[in-house]
Amino acid sequence: MNALSIKNLEKTYAGGTRALDGVSLEMPPGDFFALLGPNGAGKTTLIGIVTGLVNKSAGEVEVFGANIDREPEQARTYIGVVPQNLNINIFEKVIDIVVNQAGYYGVPRSRALPRAEKILADLNLYEKRYEPAQRLSGGMQRRLMIARALIHEPRFLILDEPTAGVDVELRRSMWGYLTGLTQQGITILLTTHYLEEAERLAKHVAIINKGSIVAQGSMEEILALHDESAHTGKLRGGRLEEVFLQLTQS
């Protein structure tokens, strides 16, 4: 059973914008999967549909076999999501944000509190647990959103640009943390504009452009698409970056 199975997913917004145009994807359990694409390609829409924040126009989505239309509650219990934009109540205390999130999944406070303290300690936020979220730095708020996403012990973690605006040192420590999660068996779907991050972390990759998947496969398969002769510019990036540009600029 796949962690995520998407078939012919389509989304047209009320204004007529077609964000997804027949996307199909499969993610095996335990995978570290990178979904890459330029701004406006449809990554956040796809994540929104999987997590229940966006209504799809057509297609099928299953999370660990639970169909998001027929068993939405079951599908959501499997998922933890770190959104692209900050969506925490900044007036709430750090510990309350995390423990309340557990509550929405039916985890009682008595069980959620020690769990929250451990996750916050793992993410170097333990000392800040009684502070209102507004007193945290941008990087700390990003880590708080990761802690919140993990509190109900999801099998599938979705990270929508989790390292955007985070300094190099912190980004590297987050890489280590995320790698540790996949070693515990958690499946991760990552979107990022830092392609070296995806190249370093992901086992599988899909590249989406204008609402359609233009390439998908293992990291090796995607890197093998690199066409040295197609390079014409003076500036050079990593191999994944070159493949990405070839696929999304054509």
């Binding site: 917004y13 929104g48 997590t51 229940g52 924040l53 966006v54 209504n55 939405p72 509650e73 079951q74 959501r76 219990t77 998922i79 999501v81 959104p83 934009n85 900050l86 969506n87 925490i88 109540n89 900044i90 007036f91 709430e92 309350d96 309340n100 999130q101 509550g103 929405y104 999944y105 039916g106 985890v107 009682p108 919140r148 109900h152």
Partner: protein, 258 residues
Amino acid sequence: MTPYEQWISFYTIVRKDIVRIFRIWPQTFLPSIVTSTLYFLIFGSFLGSRIGNVSGVPYVMFVVPGLVMLSVVMNSYANTSFTMFASKFFARSIDEILVSPTPPWILVAGFVSGGIIRGLIIGALVLGVSLFFTHLIIFNLAVIILFLILTSLVFSLGGLVNGVYATSIDGINIIPTFILTPLLYLGGVFYSVTSLPGAWGIVTQIDPIFYIINGFRYGFLGLSDAPLSVCFGVLLFFAAVLAAMNWYLLKKGFGLRQ
């Protein structure tokens, strides 16, 4: 979710709201205390002494149930409309619940319970303030409690619908200012319908809040301008309609899911 997990989710939504209500008590509790004190002072003591008795009781005693309801209605409504609006537009913290397995009816129940609790606390506080100006007669305690709870329920549900639909801060201010306030003032807070001339009596009787205030007043004074059963019926009708609307809107994700 199992029923126990649903209970935990419901408890979490309510607890979070109660913590918020008490954290910002100068915004949630204090205005009603100040306003009702002024009302009791002006309409009860200053003017009331000149008006004398209404329906056989001193004027200040007559206006107590209406002034309590005025605060309960406005606070229950504001609680859910603002909480929903703020969680949609200030950082989208509503997404925390929307991505979880919490079913829509628990979301409705949780938000509305917060509004009911705030309404009940405000009702008790305004009643407490009234004791400085008059003594209270309690004709039927069960009717008082039932009307307090049902009124808070109805206006919490109404506020939630407003919060779901609102797309700007104006959207949650227009209905309280231009619809609820006139309905409250024309609903018999300060007068008995029997004292009104011709058409104004009819206008008052088509105002649903008239029945709410009169039912509540019956619990205190044992007198009402409308039959108690009609007063209950009006509240139950609006509770049922608004509960169904909320459930449908949140199930469809109207204003919440794109």
